[in-house]
Symmetry: D2
Subunit: 360 residues, 4 copies
């Protein structure tokens, strides 16, 4: 059967409007792969785009979490077969930039002058067309296509491209050790994955901070030992009480606000690490006292979602091993042609939504 020449895609029109439109199916360059999307999802970042808080070009297809089937391979692409089930990370490193060759794949400048560009690895739905469509063109395919192991469903691997990778990175960049006490501030999709990642890294006292009942329940289910409702108690005082005044080894920020950032710093033990995942919209303040005037041997580390096919392989391994099950995070399901409704629900966090599955 001939491949269609036109497809449906959710495109950004202007602040407040992401609409489903017709677009040509993209041409496949020599190092690309064309993937037919079987499942994708909407991310909090897409909502920032929708609201005009994160600017992208009008006409761009949004979305950066593709699960699908290889439809066509570029003529230089070896090691894959058309028809193979694959995912690609939200971040698509080229592999060949100075950043990549230095291990900094997310900040990939591709062929730019210095090989470094802030957030440069994030291309889908940012600088090139994204995943909320019938088809997606994956650039530098040999660095980015990761075959899905037999037996794993689309929904089982749907979190791998972004939130699982990001949340786990919060635990990894924090360098959590066996026996650590860790606080995770906010239990949205990213925070929940950070909680799961903290457990997977050997933290033995994990304190989740949240206030939405469904998210508090999910936090316990996914790995939190203790849950603090920040509307019922001052979370800093409560965490200091729970740790008997010691503070935490690592605090993970998973929301992007001054309050959560500041709480993180305030519950850190001397020598502790604040691992920041949030996307901030304003300047941040570091309070002098919590920072011990700069003498507390504190670390503040930030992480952009790690991508590339090896990262995806490892995350799918985690799923396949049964160590972590994130399928309960898919609370709603829509067809691609219902995506505007899905955005409406997700952007307003109605009906206890965590993540939606979108199927073309």
């Amino acid at each position: 059967m001939a491949m269609p020449t036109m497809m449906k895609a959710a495109i950004f029109v202007e602040p407040g409007r992401i609409v489903l439109e017709d677009k040509p199916v993209p041409e496949v360059g020599p190092n690309d792969a064309l993937v037919r999307i079987t499942t994708t999802t909407i991310c909090g970042t897409d909502v920032h785009i929708l609201k005009g808080e994160y600017p992208v070009e009008a006409g761009l297809t949004v979305g950066h979490e593709p699960v699908g089937v290889i439809e066509k391979l570029g003529r230089n692409v070896r090691g894959y077969a058309e028809g193979q089930r694959v995912i690609a990370g939200a971040i698509c490193p080229s592999g060949y930039s100075n950043a990549c060759l230095d291990g900094l794949h997310s900040q990939d400048g591709q062929s730019g002058a210095h090989g470094l560009k802030p957030l440069g690895g994030w291309r889908f739905g940012n600088t090139i067309d994204g995943a909320q469509a019938d088809y997606i063109l994956v650039p530098d395919a040999m660095a980015n296509l990761a075959p899905v192991p037999d037996g794993l469903s689309d929904e089982q691997v749907l979190m791998c491209p972004d939130i699982m990778s990001t949340g786990f990175a919060g635990a990894e960049s924090g360098d959590i050790r066996i026996g650590d006490t860790v606080a995770v501030f906010a239990q949205g999709p990213i925070g929940l994955c950070a909680t799961a990642g903290a457990k997977l890294k050997g933290a033995t006292t994990i304190i989740a901070v949240e206030t939405v009942p469904e998210r508090m329940a999910m936090a316990e289910r996914i790995g939190a030992d203790l849950v603090v409702d920040f509307r019922r108690a001052d979370p800093v005082a409560e965490i200091m009480r729970l740790t008997d005044g010691r503070g935490v080894d690592v605090a993970i920020e998973a929301l992007g606000l001054q309050s959560t950032f500041e709480w993180c710093l305030s519950v850190l033990k001397p020598g502790g690490t604040l691992s920041s995942l949030g996307v901030y919209a304003d300047d941040l303040t570091i309070p002098l006292a919590a920072f011990h005037a700069g003498l507390g041997d504190h670390k503040i580390v930030t992480s952009l979602c790690p991508g590339g096919k090896e990262r995806m392989r490892r995350l799918m391994n985690v799923i396949d091993s049964g160590r972590v099950d994130l399928t309960a995070m898919v609370t709603h399901r829509y067809r691609l042609d219902e995506i505007e409704t899905a955005y409406e629900l997700f952007a307003n966090q109605r009906d206890g939504v965590l993540k939606v599955a979108i199927t073309p």
Copy 2:
């Protein structure tokens, strides 16, 4: 000859007044050593104490940079001999706290409930009597006394207890690699040592930022490849120009101001590290753009001066090897009974002063 029972000591009286007074020579506890000071110095932190910006108890002997001779050993102390030349670090870890056993020696809570206390390892001239006196009592002597190698003068090792250890820590915590480009903001004693440390760690483009001519000259002498005068050019623009738009791998903050902190962040490459050494007096602001909204894979790390006898041994090795020579930083010399004059000069940074040597 019998040891005297009284001695001279520079004590903090009230904000604005550090005076030389008579004090009893301290009693030697079982794990202590009494050291007769032969040379010591004044630190920027002592000036904060003088001005009342950092509170200590009235009557405390100030100073935390001792070079001297063992006068008397506590009855449990083995492995040393009276008459031996030694130094001790500004930070005196006990060795036995949870912090120490976890490798966090500077944040040592000694026998407190959790074994962790912010800045707890800093005892001299902070929580116990310090080094600007005829004698100093070194606690947990077996963890802190470091014999001075034959052939090294007092002035050669005078920077080891604090500024050399602190400055080098800026380079070490920044995890500088061979071939890195590093900017060091401010070339006071700590910043100069950070410059020397950056060179010792293999940085190959070191950009020092300063405006005082003597300090700019000293920066070049000690390891800077390029010097930027921040009064003649915007240091951020200048560093971006010098690095051809790439930014630096590591930026070291060695002053303790919002401006230098912010400049550091602004010149960092994506994935770069801000290594902070300054003692801040106010809340800090992280500018959103320089922080790439939290997605730049940036790290911010802080370091309190590492102490303990092994650190001192290593630093004296550096001096002994001839790799680094800091003696030119001793610009003025005073007797202990002139210390009030020395404070006056040092606190006002008059006469091109970098460090003063004080000899009882």
Copy 3:
């Protein structure tokens, strides 16, 4: 009630003979603590001592895994109370040697010339009297006594002093990452703890190699995803098959033989790490092919059991959190006055023994 002056202790007499004898209860020095043993155990190392394969002085009390109650504190010891339930690690760092101040606590030379001594932190039942007795004297008590959390039984924490610390160190030194494939060779007490540690660090495919049915079953229960019986299949071929030819990220050696060491190296991926825990009795051979002539970016790392009160605190946290339950490893229980029988059983690995609990 007055403390007795004499006690029972299992002492090494000569190769082949460890016997229970009367010994004076030790004097308590200023930095020591006297602990009344409530539970202890026998380690494989004790069997090496029994057989004369590891030489210790005649008359020494053996054993290095103490669980007990503080009977008496030395006069300088602060932060503890008599009557408190505590454990101490098999390795007792002083805290004050150069090794300790450098973070190398196990290789602690105490007050020796260089502060470094191979295995120097291992004192109990090696260079000073050990734990298989009514009482044990803990040196450098403030660095070594770790209070047992309320609610944990003696048997729950009995593995912390040695095998849990050692086994976990195999996973930690191997720097296991989330998503790693790990092989653990031999599932005796140490190997089982390495398996548990690998899981706790985020390995998602753990292959245990064993042949004793009880140990194979225990390996699965404690964390192994796959178990290879090395008597039924060549373990190298089998692991390469199970990993689809890729090899493992980390191989943990937990027996101390040439064959297991060599198997480890042979199943490593290029760039992989061999983490060695075994106590070897002979020179080892590195096969050229498995070592890729020295060009495979392989690492071989060795670990002596980490000790000290912070390590013990963390391990008891792991138990307290319910992440790992090692109580099933206590397969046999004896009174101290039956210890010769216990040795006979344990040394000959009869009756499916894993670990014995000894209670004075």
Copy 4:
């Protein structure tokens, strides 16, 4: 001027014979670059190939250290210009394999099943035609071509592709810290670069072991503090004497023999690291005593030469900064048509040869 279709190349014919022959100038694939060699050199590995000790296919062009000018770029290659002066590393990572995306660029399996292959990144003169020719085809050009900074001569950068990268890796993998004592066994080209690298990383006592007078002199010139002639004194006893019985923090093996490997292990402090660079031809033995039965917290790490354009950029930075000058290592110069003579001299280490420069 039209590019010629034929060129001269040094090809492997059979053990004992590398001869200069005519070969077609290679076709340029879409991701390749054709580089006209202006200077290259001969490596110890090439001698192994010549002698038949390392097997390659008959007809292969040998050599893996190219300095030249871009003659022609493949149609997908962006960010470079024809006529630009460049180097490429001996190891040419693709950037897109699982190994590369995991930071293990040298063990790159390219598009193979697992993306991992021992030594897979080493292609020039091993699996594809090499640098001892008029032209070389650089695969995955965007990952591998590194522009030479203005002002650096061919001979200044000639060591970057292999021996400087390898020697420095010995210091880097050994994780040398400021103040370390380091021994480097053998001061051939690789060992000399390891000595330079150890100094650049902050080692302050560097002990070089050699016996050839020219090499001993060069070692001192390049960074060694002490030189031990292993024919005049037992190097183990001598190093223990020089370190006052303490041993070294890091020992670097740069020859590839059992004796040097064993000496390294024997001079290590407990907790020290053996960093191995040698290419071994036989199984190795780890002596039990030097290994402390596997309980000394020792590490043995191996490194294959790191490659890729970012590594090359950094190494040329080192040269450009004046920190290290390796031009004195070029002791002899030949034209490409004299290469058989050059091999004869180099293979027999006649006339004090360190490295030869070959110019087509």
